[in-house]
Structures are given as structure tokens and as C-alpha cells.
């Protein structure tokens, strides 16, 4: 393998390939930073540009776009409280409060360092642990997917620490919205109120833009007399090195979140949107000061950004070993491999090892390059955005929301749905409902429903069909994790009380 890796580096370290990686990184960063343009869309949009390239070069460019797009989502999450991609939902929780405090530049640097770290860990796993990890993923059946969704929902107890009841209610609303449209099993049309346009369901990205972006712009408008700009900037000398040291001191958070990202990436259907929230939840749970999360602490950004970039490597593991795409952008890469006559699966490593190792190592190089590219463009973007007066920024964000929600399925109905959900999101925000749990429900709804119904169908062969949820070891692992996750904030409070008594 070492020989193959060295050979792969030989392919990559040429001026042409390095320039291609840089171009891919810039393209990915811009796509990621624009709300509505997901990594899947960016990779899909730019596939035709790779037709004239040889398979290796095409994969290198698309890999760089994918990696940078996931990272670029952090920019808009930090600067305008809108996740550029669903993988950056959790970054809004602490990134935007930091930007409002004038620490946007620091937040972007934290996101950059954490993304690079997570990306590298994901690629290392991809390189060394592909086959065994892919075999674990294959053991996940419908009951496990259902329990995984339940585990994901329990994250709300950490996300909505101010009012857990409202958090879970928001999550349930998200779950219900996710059921609008055609049922995944059976094909029933549900909750469309007679509008055929709703039969395709509510597109996740449209809902994300609505719930995160519109309430924020409307809040900007209501507070336009208080603030002329989004935030005042603090220019600090030595911020680059100081922030780097701060991030690197948090090895536990970085490594844990990167491993979470890799594992979630391996599971087909989950991806960065789930990984960043699971990693955030774990960071809150492990922290000695969980109450500070959501107020603008770097640990929150480290968790979400390292995990979502680790998903890139993780998602490619089942693609190259089993021929199963781990995340939606991997499905596009699957198609690209087929276009170039390469069949994703075990034979990729045996028959086309030169191409696959070059692709893996190019992801590594792209991740390293993301550091200078991200630092330069991220700081530049930050300095530009914070200088734009609200009278220009608010309409410009409206403009981006319209482009983003239209471009998903090329119809105006989605734009109306986005606005409607945005107004609903604004009303819920005024009622102190956080958009995080609602979108978590939206993300996990389809995974949970599919697992739930398929498991019930599987359970028909048992004397009691509901036992299907409790008779598999992996299900029990997830059940225990869910119970621990649900009860953790309560346990922490109890422990804290105990400690206070001892201190007294």
C-alpha cells in the first residue's frame, strides 16, 4: 500500500493537478457559502466540466469541491446564521453568537482549523480502515436506522437546554413536516391539502433556508435602528496563531468529533447533516461548562466542523469498498466512477488501485490546501460581510434565499414554501423555539419513518412484530445511547447539585 500511496503522490504533485485542486476548492467554497447550494448540488453541477478530463483528474476536482463545499457552509452559518449546507446547522449555534460579539474572524479560523483536522482524520480512516468499517455499516438494518433516528432526536435535550419541552415539540413539528408528501412505503399521498406541488414533500434545503435564514433577516429588519452593520469587528494581532493553538489544545473534542463524523459518514443515508449535530451533542455532554454552549464558544464550532469534514472520507468508505454511497454527494461520485467505466466496489482497490489511491491522497492534499485558501477567503468574506449595511445585507440575503430555494427543483412553489416556513420559523422564534430541533426533526424524519415501517414489516414473521425493535444487539447499543443522551442533562444537573453540596 505504501508503494501505491507514494505513486499517488507522484501523480498529484504536478502543477496542473495542484491548480485543479485549488480551482475545485474555490468553487466548492463559494457553493458551500451560498445557502441552498449543497455539496451534492455543487458536485453534480460541476460534473460536466470533468467529462473532458481523465477519470483520475475528474475525481480529484470533484473531491476538492466536495471537501471545500462542506467547509464553506460554515461561512454563512457564522456570518448570517444560515447554514450554507445542512452539514453546518450546528455551526450556527455558536458561530453566529461569536460573530455578533465581533469575533466572527476568530470563529471562521476555528472552523477552518477544525475542518482541516476532521478532513484529515476522515481521509486517514478511508485509507487504512475501509474494509472493516464498511462491514460494520452493513449490519445496520431498518430497526437500527429507526433507533439511530431516535438517538438523533434525543440530541434535542442538549440543544434546547433552556426549554427542553419546546425543543422536543419543535423536533416533533419537524418530524411531522417531513411526512408531508408521498409515503416512502405504500405510496399514500399525505397532508398535501390538495396541492399537487406538495406531493414531492418539503425539500430539506428549502426548509433549512426558511427556518434559519428568513427569521434572521426579519430580526435584522426589526433591529435595524439599533445596528447599522451586523457586528463591529475586532482586529487582533496574532489571531491566526493564537486561535490555532486554542483549537489544537482541544484534541479530545477534535478527535471525538472527527471519529463521529467518519462513523456517521459510513452509514448510508445519514451524512454531515446528522454528524454535526451528534458531534455537537457529544461536545456539550462531555464539557465541564455545558451551559456556555450556544453563547459563542469555540468548542461548539470545533465539534460541528471537524465532524462534517470527516464525513467526506467516511462517506467514501462504503462507496469504494462496497459500492454503496455513504452520503448524497457520494452518490454523484458513484455516477462519475460509472461514467468513466469504473465499477465502485471491492474490485476498485484490486483493479484500479492507482486511480483510487490517487483520489484518496488528492482528498488529503485538498484538505491541507483548504487551510491557506480558507484562511484567506474566509477572513476576506468576513470583513466584507460585516461592513455591508443592513439595508443592503437584508435584501441581499432575501435574494440568496430565493435563488437557493428555486435552484433545488427549479420551481417557484419551493420558493413560496421557503417563505411560508420562514414566516412560521419567525413566529416560532418569537415564541422562543430554536430552529435547530425543528430541522433535526426534518432530517431524521425520513430516516426514522423508513426504518420504523420497514422494521414493522420485517417483524411480521415474529409472534409480536414490535419485538423486532428489541431483539438485535446493535439496536440495544443505540437504545442505551439514546437513554444516556436523553437523561444526560438531567444527570449533569444532579451531579452539579451534589458537587455544590460537597463544596459547601
Amino acid at each position: 500500500m505504501i508503494e501505491a500511496v507514494i505513486k499517488a503522490f507522484g501523480h498529484i504533485l504536478t502543477l496542473k493537478v495542484l491548480l485543479m485542486i485549488l480551482a475545485g476548492l474555490f468553487g466548492g467554497l463559494i457553493s458551500g457559502a451560498l445557502p441552498g447550494l449543497t455539496a451534492t448540488m455543487a458536485v453534480a453541477l460541476l460534473v460536466p466540466f470533468t467529462f473532458s478530463m481523465d477519470p483520475t483528474e475528474g475525481l480529484i476536482v470533484l473531491g476538492a469541491i466536495y471537501m471545500a463545499c462542506i467547509y464553506g457552509g460554515a461561512f454563512s452559518a457564522i456570518l448570517v446564521n444560515t447554514p450554507g449546507t445542512p452539514s453546518s446547522i450546528g455551526t450556527t449555534f455558536d458561530g453566529y453568537p461569536m460573530a455578533k460579539k465581533g469575533e466572527g474572524e476568530r470563529a471562521i479560523l476555528v472552523a477552518t482549523y477544525a475542518s482541516v483536522y476532521g478532513g484529515i482524520v476522515g481521509v486517514i480512516f478511508l485509507l487504512f480502515l475501509s474494509p472493516p468499517l464498511a462491514n460494520v455499516a452493513l449490519r445496520f438494518g431498518p430497526p437500527e436506522y429507526f433507533w439511530m433516528a431516535v438517538f438523533g432526536i434525543t440530541i434535542i435535550s442538549s440543544l434546547a437546554s433552556k426549554n427542553v419541552l419546546k425543543g422536543f415539540l419543535g423536533g416533533a413539528i419537524g418530524l411531522l413536516i417531513s411526512t408531508i408528501g408521498i409515503a416512502p412505503i405504500g405510496g399514500d399521498v399525505r397532508f398535501t391539502a390538495g396541492f399537487p406541488q406538495l406531493q414531492g414533500g418539503i425539500e430539506l434545503i428549502v426548509a433549512l433556508i426558511g427556518f434559519f435564514c428568513i427569521p434572521e433577516v426579519l430580526t435584522m429588519i426589526t433591529e435595524r435602528d439599533k445596528t447599522f452593520h451586523i457586528a463591529e469587528t475586532k482586529h487582533e494581532k496574532g489571531i491566526l496563531v493564537r486561535t490555532f493553538m486554542e483549537v489544537m489544545k482541544r484534541q479530545g473534542n477534535l478527535l471525538r468529533s472527527s471519529i463521529i463524523g467518519t462513523i456517521v459518514g459510513i452509514l448510508p443515508g445519514a451524512g454531515g447533516s446528522v454528524a454535526n449535530l451528534v458531534a455537537y451533542n457529544e461536545a456539550v455532554r462531555v464539557s465541564k461548562t455545558p451551559e456556555k454552549f450556544g453563547t459563542g464558544v469555540i468548542d461548539g464550532i470545533i465539534a460541528t466542523e471537524s465532524s462534517n469534514n470527516a464525513v467526506v472520507g467516511g462517506g467514501i468508505i462504503p462507496l469504494v469498498t462496497l459500492g454503496i454511497p455513504g452520503a448524497p454527494p457520494d452518490a454523484i461520485l458513484y455516477g462519475v466512477l460509472l461514467i468513466h467505466g469504473l465499477r465502485p466496489g471491492p474490485e476498485l482497490f484490486s483493479m484500479h488501485s492507482d486511480i483510487i489511491f490517487t483520489f484518496i491522497m488528492s482528498l488529503f492534499v485538498a484538505t491541507i490546501f483548504m487551510l491557506p485558501v480558507g484562511v484567506i477567503s474566509g477572513r476576506l468574506l468576513h470583513r466584507t460581510v460585516v461592513r455591508i449595511p443592513i439595508r443592503f445585507l437584508a435584501p441581499a440575503i432575501f435574494f440568496l434565499t430565493i435563488i437557493g430555494s428555486y435552484s433545488i427543483r427549479n420551481n417557484v412553489t419551493d420558493v413560496f414554501i421557503m417563505l411560508t416556513l420562514g414566516v412560521l420559523g419567525y413566529v416560532l422564534k418569537r415564541l422562543e423555539f430554536h430552529p435547530g430541533p425543528i430541522t433535526l426533526g426534518l432530517i431524521l424524519g425520513p430516516i426514522g419513518e423508513m426504518g420504523f415501517v420497514q422494521a414493522l414489516l420485517m417483524g411480521q414473521m415474529l409472534p409480536n412484530k414490535w419485538m423486532i425493535f428489541f431483539n438485535r444487539p446493535l439496536s440495544w447499543v443505540l437504545i442505551v445511547l439514546s437513554v444516556v443522551s436523553l437523561c444526560w442533562p438531567l444527570l449533569i444537573r444532579q451531579f452539579a447539585k451534589g458537587w455544590k453540596i460537597k463544596e459547601m
Binding site: K166, T179, I185, R190, T222, I403, N410, Y426, V453
Partner: protein, 146 residues
């Protein structure tokens, strides 16, 4: 807390409406949504009880001070979306972006300022149109104009 109480009642009523919509569906189609609806009913009831128990708690005013601006902005964006496929991406974009900027601006608009706003937004919209429509070939709304 009044707002919470009202919200919990709205959620309860919405749950009932959604429940009635599940009649006529097959088992595989309604089993999951009904489970979620039951969850919403329980949580809404919990929120109602919580709001009754915390009468003294302060909650920020539901309606913000500048609510007319919010409502006007929502109405303008709704009109913008309606006219997207009639006026086209560029024309509707420039018109509605400029209107929004003038409305949100705190100062009294004069002709020079309005022309500056229109120029800025024309540049923004055209830049996006060229990048997305001409270079990346992303379909954008097309009306009778451009």
C-alpha cells in the same frame, strides 16, 4: 406565558387536523405520522401545563416594535416570488431588491440615493445571472422579460 399557552392550543388544534387527514391512508402510510401526532399532542399539553405553572415568568413581547416593517417586507418578498416567472429574474430582482432597501433604510430616500441603490442591485443581480445562468448553466426563473 400567554403566548406559550396560545401556541400550545394552536399545536393541539393542528394535531387534530393532521390526525383527521390520516383517515383513509394505509397502515404503512399512517403509522409513523400518527405516532408523531400523539407526541405533539402530549408535548403541547405539557407546554400548556408549564405555561399555567409559570405565571410570574417573564417572556419577551411576542410582537416586536418594528412589526409593520416585518409585515411589509414579507409582503414584498411574496410579491417578488409571484412576479419571478412574469417579470423574469433580473427585472424582478432589481425592482424588489431596490424597494426592500429603500423601505429598510432609516433615512428619507432622495433620487440620488435611490439611483445608487438601483445601480448596486443591478450589478449584484446581473453578476449572479451571468455566473449561474451563463457559466454554471443553473436554471433561473425566466419571465416575459429577463
Amino acid at each position: 406565558m400567554k403566548a406559550d399557552r396560545a401556541a400550545s392550543v394552536v399545536f393541539l388544534l393542528a394535531s387534530v387536523v393532521f390526525w383527521t387527514q390520516t383517515y383513509g391512508l394505509q397502515y404503512n402510510g399512517f403509522v409513523f405520522p400518527r405516532a408523531v401526532i400523539v407526541l405533539i399532542i402530549l408535548l403541547s399539553a405539557g407546554l400548556f401545563v408549564q405555561s399555567m405553572g409559570r405565571k410570574g415568568d417573564e417572556q419577551k413581547a411576542f410582537l416586536p416594535a418594528n412589526i409593520p416593517y416585518v409585515l411589509v417586507s414579507i409582503a414584498i418578498v411574496a410579491l417578488w416570488i409571484y412576479f419571478l416567472n412574469i417579470l423574469g429574474f433580473i427585472v424582478s430582482g432589481v425592482i424588489f431588491l431596490s424597494i426592500l432597501t429603500v423601505i429598510i433604510d432609516l433615512g428619507k430616500p432622495n433620487l440620488t440615493a435611490v439611483l445608487k441603490v438601483v445601480a448596486v442591485h443591478t450589478a449584484l443581480v446581473v453578476a449572479f445571472w451571468v455566473t449561474f445562468h451563463l457559466i454554471l448553466l443553473v436554471p433561473l426563473p425566466e419571465g416575459y422579460l429577463i
